[in-house]
């Protein structure tokens, strides 16, 4: 809550009532005849054409899935096909008014939207632009099959390219829009403004909001449309996206030309079913999905239900809603009513609906009806419309023949290049700024109060006599993070940061103190307490070309953005065939002292998911260097921080933390203390307990311990660890995560395989107990302590003379704990 906004008790305690404005339902009533003044005959025929293309494309897939043959051509497609037969008017109506610079995001059922938006863009692009797009996408590999032997216009070629690129992608061909790595449910093509479609229901509900944020915060032309289903309105992340998109601050706090709402249309493709669940009458309670707008903000999201069986009704709505967005009064909610004749998927027996119902909708089929209207209005003859159908059948047939030809459209060559998919997981680039333009800041960096105060801090923890400086004089880990982040804010104009309490508060742990003064709202702001939206919007922001630091405060809140962190962020670089980069650095703080739901180390969850880089620095030098590397890169990074250590000074790097810019490469563990008898490898804040243990081992047991800080989990170079084991023959792996299923266990397993012949004892994991994290007062029985490490060495590696164990590392105890699951 910023101080400028005063909550007056006299105002907010006043009695009153909320008034809702009526929400229009299917108000459009014009005939084709009446619309002739707004559309040329050509336009109207093109609308018909585009619907027919979608219908034929989906019909072809339906026949292949159900009968294995289309138009005499046999093919077996084992993958998914969620078809939208019946929904063509909604898709074409949605796409018709959109410009190339407008982005659409979709769902698992978005073939129609891809084609509609692609056809719309092709109509608006010049021949030169189209040729450039076709020639540059994967160096013309996708265009080559359709270019060969093409006779006709460039636009006709582009249409073939669109249909072929989409179909090849559906069939997992290397010539597809995303090299076949996205497939039916994820296909997209950004040069036509088609952004990722999403196989997770409601997945685009927050990602699209981030794309709109990108447009707004970077002053980019265009709007963003989130095509999501009526059933996705039950999903938490969709609601979080709505909350994020409708934040008051856009109009209340953002300043100058930044003032105003997001350029976003949440377009509910309301086919009235979620798989087999009927959203009106069974699984939801909104009755008319447009009603939802009334609960979101004062503008009721300008919500409206539109008849999605009439393309002109949808186009009319879009023309009006785009104007609202131009006036910066977004976001908008549209409830586009439609119906799919095809099942949810080919395995759907439609047991949840009656034959009569499907037939009743087919009787009002939008393509047949619209064709009749065109003939009736004298726009086209039946023969002309028939010619469109025939031409489309030829188009789809020839595209299909190309797409299933293993010579022309091969699968990705994973036999001779087995690591091809692996190489797609990360983009691994080093880029100062995502866009070259001046950065938007409030003052020169050297005038920043935090930057100034850091000049007076001690950058090494100890004075010449080895005495530590006082906490307040010491340059801490949080200062290292700040320096790296503020530096990037002054380098990369696209960089933004947000999360809970990121602005005035300075971040819950004071990392951002000083940034509020330096940055305008559109670069640093407070988000709603909605982790799914915080991460989801960051994904959308990065997809469009920005760099972003979302922060989720506590590691324990990772579950709140599970789909975004585990299912979206890590997947899009590879699923796009490396078209997209994902420079998202998620700051995650690992807590302590706050009990079971605020003190968990979940590094293993992040490290388990392919496609994420995972780091956990625990000294100021490492924190600054690794944050610099994270922000210079183009890959998603889960950046763990420990709440035990925000104030800790640098005690390892000679000369303290450098003032200038430097990077620490990811994946390199760091020997924090050399030794020769036993290696202790740590993840996170446990490093300092391991150093305590090393001290005791040396003083009491004459055993010299080498202590290695892993610093990163993904990537991770095991070689320095193996080198250490060659010297010591023994290794303890310790960290604050509950031991079961932790990354500590993963390391132990790798080390056993990699260094078996050098081991004088099994690698021993000293992790936290498999319990709830208890209160601070009881934490010592939960988190690994220095004693535990010594006890583990004594019990499992090398009996230490005169040592008496306090904790139980015996095999009997280990068996028992596992047998009891605790």
């Amino acid at each position: 809550m910023p101080k400028v906004q005063y909550i007056n008790p006299d105002d907010v305690r006043k009695p009153g009532q909320i008034e809702f404005k009526p929400i229009p339902v299917n108000q459009y009533s014009k005939t084709v005849e009446e619309e002739k003044e707004n559309f040329s005959n050509e336009d109207l025929v093109r609308i018909y054409h585009d619907m027919v293309v979608i219908r034929e494309f989906e019909t072809m897939l339906n026949l292949i899935k159900t009968q294995g043959v289309y138009n005499g051509v046999e093919y077996n497609h084992p993958g998914p096909a969620h078809l939208s037969i019946g929904q063509e008017a909604a898709a074409v109506g949605m796409a018709y008014t959109l410009g190339v610079e407008d982005f659409i995001f979709g769902s698992h059922r978005s073939h129609g939207e891809i084609l509609a938006k692609g056809l719309s863009a092709i109509d608006k692009l010049t021949d030169e632009q189209l040729i450039e797009i076709m020639d540059t996408h994967f160096d013309g590999i996708t265009a080559a099959p359709v270019k060969a032997g093409h006779k006709g216009t460039t636009k006709e070629l582009a249409i073939k390219f669109l249909v072929y690129g989409t179909l090849a992608e559906v069939f997992a061909r290397a010539t597809g829009f995303n090299k076949g790595l996205g497939g039916s449910m994820h296909a997209f093509f950004t040069p036509f403004g088609v952004y990722p479609n999403n196989a997770i229901v409601g997945g685009s509900g927050d990602i699209a909001v981030g794309a709109a944020l990108y447009k707004k915060a970077n002053r980019k032309e265009g709007i963003v449309v989130a095509n999501i289903g009526d059933a996705s309105m039950a999903c938490g992340p969709v609601w979080e996206g709505l909350a994020f998109a409708s934040m008051d601050q856009f109009t209340e706090l953002w300043e100058g030309d930044m003032k105003g709402g997001l350029p976003l249309i949440v377009n509910i493709m309301n086919n009235q079913y979620g798989m087999g669940g009927q959203t009106c009458g069974e699984t939801m309670g909104y009755d008319v999905a447009a009603r939802i707008g009334a609960g979101v903000n004062r503008d009721q999201m300008h919500a409206e239900r539109v008849d999605g069986y009439n393309p002109l009704a949808v186009i009319d709505a879009y023309k009006r809603k785009k104007k609202i967005l131009e006036e910066k009064r977004g976001p908008v909610l549209l409830d586009v009513l439609t119906y799919r004749y095809s099942g949810h998927s080919p395995s759907d027996a439609s047991s949840y609906r009656s034959k009569e119902e499907v037939e009743a909708w087919e009787a009002q089929d939008s393509i047949i009806w619209f064709g009749k209207e065109l003939v009736k209005a004298g726009v086209a003859t039946e023969a002309e419309l028939e010619a469109i159908k025939t031409g489309t059948t030829d188009l789809i047939t020839s595209s299909m023949k190309l797409a299933i030809d293993d010579e022309i459209s091969p699968l990705m060559d994973v036999k001779t290049q087995p690591n091809l998919i692996g190489e797609m997981m990360f983009s691994n680039q080093s880029i100062d700024k995502m866009e070259d333009r001046p950065v938007e800041v409030n003052h020169p960096m050297e005038e920043n109060p935090r930057v100034k105060s850091l000049k007076t801090k001690e950058r090494f923890m100890f004075d010449a006599n080895g005495k530590p400086f006082s906490k307040i004089k010491t340059y801490g880990l949080k200062d290292g993070l700040f320096e790296a982040i503020v530096d990037r804010f002054y380098k990369d104009p696209t960089l933004i940061a947000y999360g809970e309490e990121n602005r005035d508060w300075g971040g819950a742990f004071a990392v951002y103190r000083g940034l509020t003064e330096a940055l305008p709202y559109n670069r640093l702001f407070n988000s709603p307490i909605a982790e799914a939206a915080i991460i989801g919007t960051a994904i959308g922001y990065a997809m469009c070309g920005g760099r972003v630091i979302p922060e989720i405060m506590y590691c324990d809140f990772l579950g709140r953005c599970g789909d975004e962190v585990f299912n979206q962020l890590p997947k899009w670089q590879a699923m796009s065939g490396n078209v997209l980069k994902m420079p998202v650095v998620i700051r995650v703080s690992v807590g302590s002292k706050y009990g079971a739901q605020h003190s968990q180390d979940w590094t293993a969850l992040a490290a388990h998911i392919p496609g994420l880089k995972v780091v956990f620095p625990v000294s100021p030098y490492d924190a600054k260097g690794l944050m610099n590397t994270a922000l210079q890169g183009t890959d998603p990074v889960i950046f763990f921080e420990s709440q035990r250590l925000y104030d800790i000074g640098e005690q390892f790097h000679e000369g303290g933390v450098p003032e200038g810019y430097y990077e620490i490469p990811f994946g390199e563990p760091d020997v924090k203390k050399e030794g020769k008898d036993v290696t202790i490898l740590t993840i996170g804040a446990t490093l300092y307990r391991a150093l305590d243990a090393a001290k005791t081992l040396e003083e009491k047991y004459n055993l010299s311990a080498e202590v290695i800080d892993s610093r990163c989990m993904v990537p991770f170079n095991y070689e320095p660890v193996i080198e250490s084991i060659k010297k010591t023959g023994r290794i303890i792996i310790s960290g604050d995560a509950s031991a079961r299923g932790s990354f500590l266990r993963d390391m132990a397993s790798n080390i056993t395989e990699l260094a078996f012949d050098y081991l004088d004892a099994p690698p021993v994991v000293v992790g936290s107990r498999n319990w709830i994290t208890p209160a601070y007062e009881l934490e010592d029985v939960f988190f690994p302590q220095a004693d535990w490490i010594i006890d583990a060495i004594h019990t499992k590696m090398l009996p230490l003379e005169g040592h008496v164990c306090k904790s139980d590392f015996t095999e009997a105890e280990q068996l028992d704990r596992n047998a009891r699951g605790i």
């Binding site: 307040i472 300075g506 050098y758 081991l759 004088d760 019990t795 090398l798 164990c805 306090k806 139980d808």
Partner: protein, 428 residues
Amino acid sequence: MAVPVIMPRQGQSVESCILGQWYKEVGEEVSEGDILFSYETDKASFEEEAKESGILLATFFEEGDEIPVLENVAVIGKAGESFEEFKAGVTTSAETPEEEVVEEAPKVIEFEMEETSSNARIRISPLAKKMAQSMGINIQTVKGSGPHGRIIAQDIEQASKSVETPAPVAAAPAAVPTPKATPAAKAAPAPVVLEVGDDYDVKAIPNIRKLIATAMHQSLQNSAQLTHHMSADARQLMKLRKKFKKQLADGEIKQNVTINDLVCFAVIRALEKFPQVNTQYYGDQMKWFKKVHLGLAVDTERGLMVPALKNADDLSITGLSSQLKQLSTDARNGNVNPDLLNPAAASFTVSNLGNYGVEMFTPVINLPQTAILGVCTIVPRPKEIEEGVYGFVPMMGLSLTYDHQALDGGEATLFLAEIKNQIENLIV
């Protein structure tokens, strides 16, 4: 009354704050709610308001000072009131020292160091195994010092040193069985059957067997032993034996003096003449015994045991006989003093297989002793009794195994000849 103004504590983790600016000067009048000074923590800046009205009597810190939280910063009161007692350091902290935590008795974790008889597998770390291979160390002979008796790197290092210099091996406790003298130990436990095959059973090796195995193997590996054989005319022995037998029957003596007792008596006499054999060898040094501590190999149900008879050279033939009898009975019953089973307890060992008809064998030295005498059966052999006259004479086989590291062949031969001489001319 004057009241102190303290540096507030802004959060649990804050230890000190930096004083920003004084807004009031000493002597100035302050009202409740007036801002006195600003201060900052590492996370934020704050302003402190006066909680009392009065005169600012004193300030104890300058701007920019780092002040521990809860420390007195200033004093507000009436003009002329004393404030010295509020000065930092004068007042005592109200905090009580933390009570010392009485620790509960720590849980003692005991280590099962001895392997159970049912577990015949050798536990060894991969590193130790690799080291043993490259250094040519037989892991069967190494005792592990790691958890569960696992052989770890330091054990192999230790073993490799003892290959170079046998001393540590000789001192190693594994060289001889040291079973606890418990009645239960008297009977050999039935070996645990691990696996039953079509025509065989796999049985566990009892502990004593493992210890014997280790000791024997180590002996052969860590010494340069070889055996000389010689025969002694046993007629004098047999004469003496006959005499003692009669005395026993007549009740003149209580002791059944056996052939073995007589041989031992002769051996002791020979050792007195050859002190270099009454020794233990430790690589760079030798232990020369002034007394003869005679080891006697005893076959028991549980396996071979070699108890030592201390100061055997002090004994008469009957005394010797009596003590050897007692010692072997104790060994068979499992209640011999374990100290006497230590191979370092004896200076020389006699192993007699004569009763079993063995004509010649190569006894294994009980390290660190330098030699062992094997006593064989008596067989009649042709011998020139007088010039040109041959007859069959009962001859006793003697097999002396000695460590060539400690003794040379000549010395050993002379010693063996001396035993022969003593036996043939035994006077008791």
